[in-house]
């Protein structure tokens, strides 16, 4: 594979995405909501509203905490109601929601890169270059996966700063991230980025337009929402081990999807769809 060509394809794809508002606007707005607006809301609310006024809601939260594994419940020992609320919402409830970011961004760029290229009728000239099929494929993977991971990491960093800063009056120290966030950030997030892209590759071979691909890959968000529901109901808790195990499973699915994707991303197949 030719790394110079891979980099050129990735840079070109990102330049094109930058010109497509439908693609990049959600990629900017959603991280701002997740990394700034939501943690600010969850950390400032208990500081602004006296606990007595929301005793009912906090009681419900304690029921949810009670569903967490015993070891995890240790985090809440000796914590007041407001601190418990902040920990539960920012460190547990929002954790799986963050996976929407890499999934969404990689699938948006992937859809624009794979289907958009065909839709805009630019694929044919690309196929006439000396690049091998694998180089073209790798370039498009890099274009969609690497920025998705970087964007997620930037969002995580902002989130960590916002949570610690906004909850400083309650904790008086840097308490976040908890241990389970490390595999979430550095193992599961890259795997989910790749999942969004590899699913897009398969979807792209069956749809004609960027919007069709975008909408279909959007349905992958259901997987993340299942994690949120699982976490809320106590069925699945994203701890260190479970996050690592889930990440490993997603990597395995990625490998299988990429294997299939490489098989479909061949000049002979691609030229037939032009």
């Amino acid at each position: 594979m030719n790394w110079r060509s891979i980099r050129a394809i990735a840079v070109k794809d990102l330049r094109e995405v930058r010109q497509n508002k439908a693609a990049w606007v959600p990629a900017v707005v959603i991280p701002l909501v997740f990394a700034v607006a939501m943690p600010l809301a969850f950390t400032l609310l208990p500081q602004l509203i006296p606990a007595e006024q929301v005793a009912g809601e906090l009681g419900e939260m304690q029921e949810l905490v009670a569903r967490l594994p015993a070891a995890v419940q240790q985090v809440f020992v000796d914590k007041g109601l407001e601190q418990g609320f902040v920990i539960y919402t920012t460190a547990f409830l929002l954790a799986p929601m963050f996976l929407i970011l890499p999934l969404m961004f990689s699938s948006i760029v992937g859809a624009d890169s794979f289907v958009g290229e065909r839709e805009r009728k630019t694929m044919e000239a690309l196929l006439y270059t000396p690049c091998s099929d694998r180089t073209l494929f790798a370039g498009k993977i890099v274009a969609s996966v690497v920025p998705a991971i970087l964007l997620s990491w930037v969002s995580y960093t902002i989130y960590i700063v916002v949570v610690n800063a906004a909850s400083w009056p309650l904790f008086g120290r840097i308490w976040f991230p908890l241990a389970a966030w490390w595999p979430l950030m550095f193992w599961l997030t890259p795997a989910i980025s790749l999942l969004g892209m590899s699913a897009t590759v398969l979807i792209s071979s069956r749809v004609r337009t960027f919007m069709e691909a975008y909408q279909l890959t959007g349905s992958l968000v259901v997987l993340v929402l299942l994690l949120v529901v699982g976490q809320l109901s106590g069925v699945l808790y994203l701890g260190v081990f479970s996050t690592f195990a889930l990440g490993t499973l997603v990597w395995a699915v990625d490998a299988a999807l990429i294997y299939v994707g490489v098989g479909t991303f061949q000049r002979t197949h691609l030229i037939a769809k032009i």
Binding site: R4, I9, M123, E124, A125, P130, C131, I271, A272
Partner: protein, 322 residues
Amino acid sequence: MGATVDAPQDSVIDVSNLHRTFGAIRAVDGLTFDIRPGEVFGLLGPNGAGKTTTVRLLNGILPPSGGFVRVLGMDPAQQGGQVRRKTGVLTENPTLYERLSARQNLTFYGTLSEIPEARLGGRVEEMLGFFGLDGRAGDRVETYSKGMKQRLALARALLHQPPLLFLDEPTSGLDPEAAQQVNALIEFLSHKGQTIVLCTHNLTEAERLCDRVAVMNAGRCLALGNPADISRRLWPGTWLDVVFWQAPSPAQLELARNFPAVEQVDLGPELLSVRLQSKEAIPTFVRQLVEAGASILSVNPRSHSLEEVYFAIQNNRQDGEA
């Protein structure tokens, strides 16, 4: 693919009994031709004749279903990347990145065509200047006219200085002025010795630009060669139109009919059309008429345009099928 046929040493492209099927459809059906260095070779035919499929086969984008292909001494099916390193292709649609600038487009394709980093910038600027795009090089391509886009696409095809250039319908959809600009560029390249494969159904363009043509239909090559040679095969002999100042006498007409090389005579009021076995017979024929006292105003050997040749070939095919 059979490897027993050796490509002639002087051929840039050598194709023998090439086939490509898509299910039951024979897109290319037993094509045989060769292209020599510096030649402008036309692939002529209606839409669906198999021209674009042939270009894809020659560039290793599609593998053939059968037959022999060598492009610059390489097998495109096995060495597609190496072949494409030495070919430039202008596709039927410009297929440019409209959201990017001309400079970004060329830089991108130059990188993919493996132009060394140190030379790439200079080469891009050189091509932008040559094709008259340097003034708008930083503008998004979507703001360009069709003619500018086509020139940019041509610049892209030539960026890596390929010894072999494929032009698929280069003037399709262009206004006459833009088409003339593109044709002038093709003529310029041809005079510089560039080998060009020109796919077109614009017969005037082909007649002006091509050294040899292959007339295709339904994936088959119906005729191959220099347009004049094909014309001679279609209409053997040479037609000569003789215009008289005064109507020819019966004796002069008799002389014309009995001239040894004359095969056919058509007589109009002041025009005598004769078919001679060859053009070498023309001077003797005219001299004998003049010596017999004929008052001749003009003598015109009749030539058939490529358009006439093309339609005669296509009609012969239809008649054959009927």
